[in-house]
């Protein structure tokens, strides 16, 4: 196997993971991202790592360009064409507000009202044509729009998931008017009901397609110039890859590809280490992302809200984000209670100890005051040689005084509170799905994750925590270990009993065929194609559905009993004789790639006690003279006990008193409560 490289293009940094033989890790690095042309940052990373593209078999990468374009509203100027009478579906949403409390704020639809148009046509929910498409009017509209500065046209008709002929005809007419447009029809993007969610998803696709197409073209050209003629695969938010050439048509599918890649990598590392129930926690400067992996498979969310009234109805790895990070600010509320976050000091002004003008005490300041991070070797700081611990101490003193707390007590209180906030969210992720968090291993990563993982693990009652070798660039690794994936789905909305003979089987078989055809079109060398089916099911009348893994050959009785088993797992009971409904049928087609075998290192020092590089006082309830380890010194088989600090270029890890650590064959640190 030749070289592989995984690259995660984030908003601030582009991370790279490189293996020259698919086994050994040869390079891990971070370079600044280049938001004006993100493909440049990727090329920069390759060059910084000294990698000759011609020596690579495959480039795998994730990117936040799509996410950021939506959040910052930097996408394409689009027009939307809807069924007569439904021009505003995209803006209206489904009657809500931004927050439960607070009446202020408005939404910013991706396609403004002046660029939303209507055309006579109407289908019913079975797909029957009630009003034929008014082609004459549509042609006139297309001609008028051709004179406007528009890059993409989105078409979303009511019930198009049941019959896409009007949308397809509209696409032909639009294409005749302007062959340069990117044209998106809703039935191509989502084959399911719920007009607002489908229209929104189609609008996201149209909004991103020109940008993503440009990106794909630029990247392809630059890689060709460097002599790379093999395959580039891009991470999607469902945790699967897609070839660069297919990227433009799947622009909406790569929103949040970075966090998905992180979860994939964490799941893979944990599986190799022997854990298939995993909670992943990614903590950075402003947020904590948590996801759950059950039996090796990350949980999938069917709909994700990208921003207020911008739902995306595509399968995405279910990653929950809360405002808890190194920059989270501690304060005393009006009732006199200490609180931490969700307000963050951000990168600028940042924590007090970073000396960039920050004046509010943050989680990072608490870590600095307690000696948990090394004040003499600030990570990622070029502008200062030493953290300003004295200033952070002064802020702790001021914050703690009204509470009657000393400096270290205040800092510990901040950590306890922020750790609890993260632990609560972590617990909710498992408990709300009927799992016991004690059955899970915790994989923490991100710049701040390893500082807090031990406390989260203790609070949630998790037995084992895994610290990957390179927690700061896990998303880049995630790209390298993923497979190619296509998700297909179709609304059924019928009771299980009493539907036409063979309906389930026929729909699933069709989706299976479509998925395989797309897979063949990738031209990727695959070890296997794996197909799995699921049904979204509910009791009749329920709005929320459950995803139930099924087989095409199953009878109605088998489908119902599978649903009941999942329902019982989730809610602890069933609802007896209430009829069960299949809302939609889903098929996932996975193209299993040849992948790097995660380096298995010989146990260099079985049971040997690791030797610290230094010692320094670290506060764990009191000041304790604590051993400081260099991650590079920790070899498979070694052990050590907490309290301990492990330092490496991309992060600092805390092992609390009463915990033990050992290094496994893959150079992960496994931590357990003794």
């Amino acid at each position: 196997m030749g070289g592989i490289v995984g690259i995660d293009v984030g908003g601030t940094f582009t991370d790279l993971f490189y293996s020259s033989d698919g086994i050994r890790v040869d390079a891990v690095l971070k370079v600044p991202s280049t938001p004006d042309d993100p493909s440049r940052g990727l090329i920069d990373a390759l060059q910084a790592a000294g990698i000759a593209p011609s020596a690579l078999d495959v480039i795998l990468h994730g990117t936040t360009i799509a996410t950021n374009a939506v959040i910052e509203r930097r996408g394409a100027r689009c027009a939307l064409i809807t069924t007569q009478g439904f021009r505003d579906v995209l803006e209206l949403g489904r009657r809500d507000r931004q927050r439960m409390y607070g009446m202020t704020g408005v939404q910013q639809p991706l396609i403004p009202r002046e660029m939303r148009w209507e055309v006579e046509e109407r289908l019913d929910h079975t797909g029957q044509v009630l009003v034929p498409l008014d082609e004459t009017h549509l042609r006139a509209l297309a001609t008028a729009l051709a004179a406007e500065e528009i890059e993409a046209v989105v078409v979303s008709f009511l019930h198009a998931y049941a019959n896409s002929s009007h949308e397809q005809r509209a696409r032909e007419i639009l294409r005749e008017a302007n062959p340069d447009w990117e044209i998106v029809i809703s039935s191509d993007v989502v084959r399911e009901y719920y007009e607002f969610e489908r229209t929104s998803t189609a609008a996201v696709q149209g909004y991103l397609q020109p940008l993503v197409s440009r990106y794909a073209r630029n990247l392809t050209r630059k890689l060709e110039e460097l002599g790379f003629d093999r395959q580039t695969l891009v991470m999607q938010s469902n945790g699967g890859l897609v070839p660069l050439a297919q990227l433009p048509g799947r622009a909406a599918n790569i929103v949040r590809s970075g966090p998905a890649a992180g979860v994939m990598a964490a799941a893979r590392l944990a599986a190799d280490a022997g854990f298939d129930h995993v909670i992943t926690g990614d903590m950075g400067g402003t947020s904590y992302d948590v996801a759950v992996v059950v039996k090796g498979t990350p949980r999938i969310a069917e709909t994700t809200e990208l921003d207020f009234r911008i739902p995306l109805r595509l399968p995405m790895i279910d990653v929950h984000t809360i405002g808890a990070g190194g920059g989270s600010i501690a304060y005393i509320d009006r009732g006199g209670t200490l609180q931490v976050g969700p307000r963050s000091a951000g990168a600028v002004p940042g924590p007090i100890c970073f000396g960039r003008g920050g004046t509010s005490p943050t989680v990072t300041d608490a870590n600095a005051v307690l000696g948990r991070i090394n004040a003499d070797q600030p990570i990622g700081m070029k502008h200062l040689a030493r953290l300003d611990v004295a200033a952070a101490r002064a802020a702790m003193a001021a914050l703690g005084a009204p509470l009657g707390l000393g400096i270290e007590e205040t800092a510990e209180a901040i950590l306890t509170i922020v750790n609890h906030v993260m632990a609560r969210r972590t617990r909710l992720m498992t408990v709300e799905q009927g799992h016991d968090p004690r059955d899970f291993a915790l994989v923490v990563f991100g710049g701040a994750g390893p500082l807090h993982g031990a406390a989260i693990m203790r609070e949630v009652g998790i037995r084992t925590m895994l610290l990957p070798p390179h927690p700061g660039v896990l998303c880049a690794l995630g790209c390298a270990v993923a497979d190619i994936r296509y998700d297909l789905s179709r609304t059924v909305e019928r009771p299980v009993l009493g539907q036409p003979e063979g309906l389930v089987r026929d729909i699933l078989a069709g989706q299976h065929r479509d998925g395989e055809a797309r897979m063949q079109a990738t031209g990727t060398e695959l070890e296997a194609i794996e197909v799995s089916h699921a049904a979204e099911m509910s009791y009749q009348g329920q709005i929320h559905t459950l995803r139930v893994p099924i087989e095409p050959s199953w009878t109605g009785a088998e489908l119902i009993s599978a649903f009941e088993a999942v329902y019982r797992q989730e809610y602890g009971n069933t609802l007896g004789s209430v009829p069960v409904v299949i809302v939609s049928l889903k098929t996932a087609v996975l193209g299993v790639r040849r992948k790097p075998v995660m380096s298995v290192l010989a146990a260099a020092a079985d049971g040997a006690i690791a030797a610290p590089r230094a010692r320094r006082p670290v506060h764990f309830g009191r000041w304790i003279d604590t051993p400081i380890y260099d991650r590079a010194d920790l070899l498979p088989g070694m052990r050590f006990d907490g309290p301990a600090i492990v330092e490496q270029p991309d992060t600092t890890s805390v092992i609390e008193p009463g915990m033990t650590a050992r290094i496994d064959r893959h150079a992960n640190i496994l931590i357990e409560v003794a």
Binding site: F86, D88, L92, R95, G102, R424, E570
Partner: protein, 589 residues
């Protein structure tokens, strides 16, 4: 009190209530619970009934209502031998538990070592409780019995065993008994979720520490609430607003509110409000008080939700008025009456703290129900479409379009899903142009939609705000009022009560057309940024006449796209026109 333990215990208690919310929202059969979160869960003090913690996912409407309900149930339970292990109490008596008959409350005591430690309570909206119209919205109800069955406070479970006779009595009197049983089971199961969480907390901290933390939590929330009230200038702020009618007599109803702020105390005085209506436009005093807190929390979103926050407030609600319903008044208009309570609190406080307070939102939940037998399945159905509408503008922003009522988080059903489930067809569903109140910040526009029925059905509509539009503040204009039109046999007509109509028989092809109000404007429309006026024109949110006369801009059509004009507002000439208007308005010059 150790500040860290306090923070952790508070978080853990809130988490228990949150987990209970999430559990029911996902497990309920009633689409009103599962899609619109029409439920609430919490822990309450077993002696004072004060809220210890309430879930963050349930409806705002129940914010304080749950506490008031529990407070009234405690003496009733005590007279019946007190709370005992294995008991679950049930009640939907709205004079006691607030809102309407469809909101059923369950209360489950929690014991530690045989001693009563707390009460768990929840409420969930059940689709149908019997009565003369499906769904409980009876616009012409003259007494509660037309709205459904009343379940007085009773032990649903005794010693862990369900009273099946009671359940049979209930299911025999409702239209969707199977669904009701599912919801009852789901609500009962949620208590196990709560108990597990509290068990873990008791095991970790012990009863003594928990009790001390809870007392301190409530004390601090009270201090927090007082600090907000203290920032409102002392004084009395008055407002009066009106309902169209009660659906029975075509006479307007008055809501009168005087808010008096003195130091850190807040008094709500509803003296002058109309006596109980003959129709269903009544709510219980518990609900009135709860909605005052909802309004406060919309103005100060960071105020914590527990009993301490309710302490610095006092209420005067005259007995027998529309805001303190007593037997046998009908209460099905709760969805509209509650909204008006929020509106008047906004209207009064906007005089004191305009920088924080929004103008009136659309102010009517205008519930339309379509019911009948589905022609394909023969099964009975009730489809419920509650109004969306515009929000009032504020110092911070324009108003939102298609908002949910301030006391609610309920969504509007998907058009496509509606057409799958019910014999209905939407003809249109869109923004109601020109319906937002003018102002420096514009109120959000209302929503208009037309629904045609495809089989024989009964249609009822229970709304308000046709005669009295949502108001603007700080010089902002009012929004467009509500509009209801019925189309039967090819003829369009307005119902005699304008915003209310009951059980109209619809044949296939008949339809109703609703246009909800927008929100009020904030500030002088002449101060609106000309660029925003231009955007409003191009988006069709206002017309040229409004732009010129109300906003004082000079705009021209620069071109058209198909038949749609593209406007440009000319900045210099707009400046001149506005100066001219200002000088004619200014009495000194």
């Amino acid at each position: 009190m150790d500040p860290v333990t306090l923070a952790v215990v508070r978080g853990a208690l809130e988490q228990i209530a949150d987990e209970m919310d999430l559990h029911l929202i996902r497990a309920a059969l009633s689409p009103i619970i599962s899609e619109t979160n029409d439920c609430a869960h919490g822990l309450y003090d077993p002696v004072t009934g004060e809220t210890i913690a309430q879930g963050g996912y349930g409806l705002p409407m129940f914010l304080a209502n749950m506490q008031f309900t529990v407070q009234r149930l405690i003496p009733i339970a005590n007279e019946a031998g007190g709370f005992r292990e294995g008991d679950i109490w049930i009640c939907n008596d709205p004079y006691l538990s607030g809102t309407h008959l469809n909101d059923v409350v369950l209360v489950s005591p929690y014991f530690v070592d045989g001693k009563l430690f707390a009460l768990f309570a929840n409420t969930g909206h059940w689709m149908d409780m019997g009565g003369s119209a499906p769904g409980g919205w009876v616009p012409t109800a003259r007494e509660i019995h037309q709205e459904g069955i009343i379940i007085p406070p009773l032990r649903l479970y005794e010693n862990g065993k369900r009273n099946d006779a009671l359940v049979a009595m209930i299911t025999a009197n409702v239209r969707l008994p199977q669904q009701l049983l599912g919801d009852l089971a789901a609500m009962t199961n949620v208590f196990a979720v709560g108990r597990r969480g509290l068990d873990a907390l008791v095991a970790r901290y012990g009863v003594g520490t928990l009790r001390a933390c809870i007392d301190e939590m409530l004390r601090r929330s009270e201090a927090e609430m007082r600090s907000y009230i203290a920032e409102i200038p002392d004084g009395t702020y008055r407002i009066e607003d009106y309902f169209d009618n009660d659906g029975v007599d075509d006479v307007r109803l008055t809501v009168t509110l005087a808010i008096t702020v003195s130091g850190s105390e807040l008094q709500f005085d509803f003296t002058g409000t109309s006596p109980a209506s003959r129709g269903p436009m009544n709510i219980s005093d518990a609900t009135t008080r709860s909605l005052c807190f909802v309004a406060l929390k919309h103005i100060f979103p960071d105020v914590p939700v527990n009993g301490g926050a309710f302490r610095p407030t006092q209420f005067t609600i005259p007995q027998g008025c529309i805001l303190s319903a007593a037997y046998p008044s009908a209460v099905g208009g709760t969805t509209d009456v509650t909204q008006r309570v929020v509106d008047v609190v906004f209207g009064a406080l906007a005089q004191a703290i305009p920088a924080q307070t929004p103008a009136a939102p659309f102010g009517t939940t205008g519930v339309a129900t379509v019911s009948g037998r589905h022609p394909q399945t023969g099964q009975y159905f009730v489809a419920v479409y509650p109004y969306p509408g515009g929000y009032g503008a504020s110092a911070a922003s324009d108003g939102l379009v298609n908002g949910t009522p301030p006391g609610s988080m309920a969504k509007f059903m998907s058009v496509e899903m509606s057409e799958h489930r019910y014999p209905v067809r939407f003809r249109y569903f869109g923004i109601r142009e020109g319906s937002g109140g003018a102002g420096r910040h514009r109120g959000g526009c209302g929503t208009r939609y037309g629904i045609e029925t495809l089989s024989d059905t009964l249609v009822s509509i229970l709304g308000d705000r046709v005669d009295h539009a949502p108001f603007g503040v700080e010089g902002g204009g009012p929004a467009a009022p509500n509009s209801v039109q019925i189309e039967t046999g090819g003829r369009r007509w307005i119902p005699p009560m304008r915003s209310k109509a009951e059980k109209l028989p619809f044949a296939p092809g008949d339809a109703f057309h609703l246009a909800s109000p927008g929100g009020g404007g904030f500030g002088d429309p002449l101060d609106r940024d000309p660029a925003l006026v231009e955007a409003d024109l191009n988006g069709g949110m206002i017309d040229m006449a409004t732009a010129e006369s109300v906003h004082g801009v000079v705009a021209t059509v620069v071109r058209t796209i198909l038949d749609r004009p593209v406007y440009r507002v000319e900045r210099d000439r707009t400046q001149e026109r506005r100066s001219a208007i200002a000088s004619t308005l200014d009495p000194i010059t």
